[in-house]
Symmetry: C2
Subunit: 106 residues, 2 copies
Amino acid sequence: MIERRDVFQAIADPTRRMIIQKLSRGALNIGQIVADSGITRQGIAKHLKVLSECGMISLTQKGREQFCEARLDQLDEVIDWVNASRKLWNQRFEKLDKFLTDKKKQ
Amino acid sequence: MIERRDVFQAIADPTRRMIIQKLSRGALNIGQIVADSGITRQGIAKHLKVLSECGMISLTQKGREQFCEARLDQLDEVIDWVNASRKLWNQRFEKLDKFLTDKKKQ
DNA sequence: AATTTGCACAACCATTCGGTTGTATTTATA
DNA sequence: TATAAATACAACCGAATGGTTGTGCAAATT
């Protein structure tokens, strides 16, 4: 199996999307992310590891606390892929339209 | 664990993204998708099941062949989520800018 | 000095994932 | 009619996922 640790996989999990949502409002430490999340600190830490490994968050030590900051420019890759796919998809309909129009003219 | 069968999960796998790319150019039957994919027909069939379950493709029987067609409007959900997150993220920087500007004025 | 807080690391666990092989069934085609 | 093609269904497999508990340690707080 291919080693997958990319943005697509990062945002696939709902808990990770929740984390990103929280962090998009500003940097937080782990405890603040854990609060009201319904999962343990260790669980959150695992998700943060995934997010960090694909560059979606950066971690900086501050005393004994660790601050997490989002790096959402990485999401460009997702937007680009979606847009490219949809562009092709729309072109397909344009072709169909053209085909039908041409057929009508005959 | 929560039942996850959504668009985010659908596009998380590189093979599924490849399938979507192929289908965005037009409808194909399974054999055409399998061609040059490097995986077995059964493997592809599993991916198609996932894609179908979250409404990203529709399957229609045509004699003994089965045609797959992409339904990429579902990708709106992804775009919306990404845009919402990034909007918040950018506002955060604006706040920081404002903070720094105000500080300078003092 | 004692205790609490924040975190890292490791082990464990059930489930899902991504893929395979193998068999059976239906539908075209030579 | 025999055979090839397209698919469906099920079992299996190793690895990854998403979580847990448990232990230990350094840094604040009392």
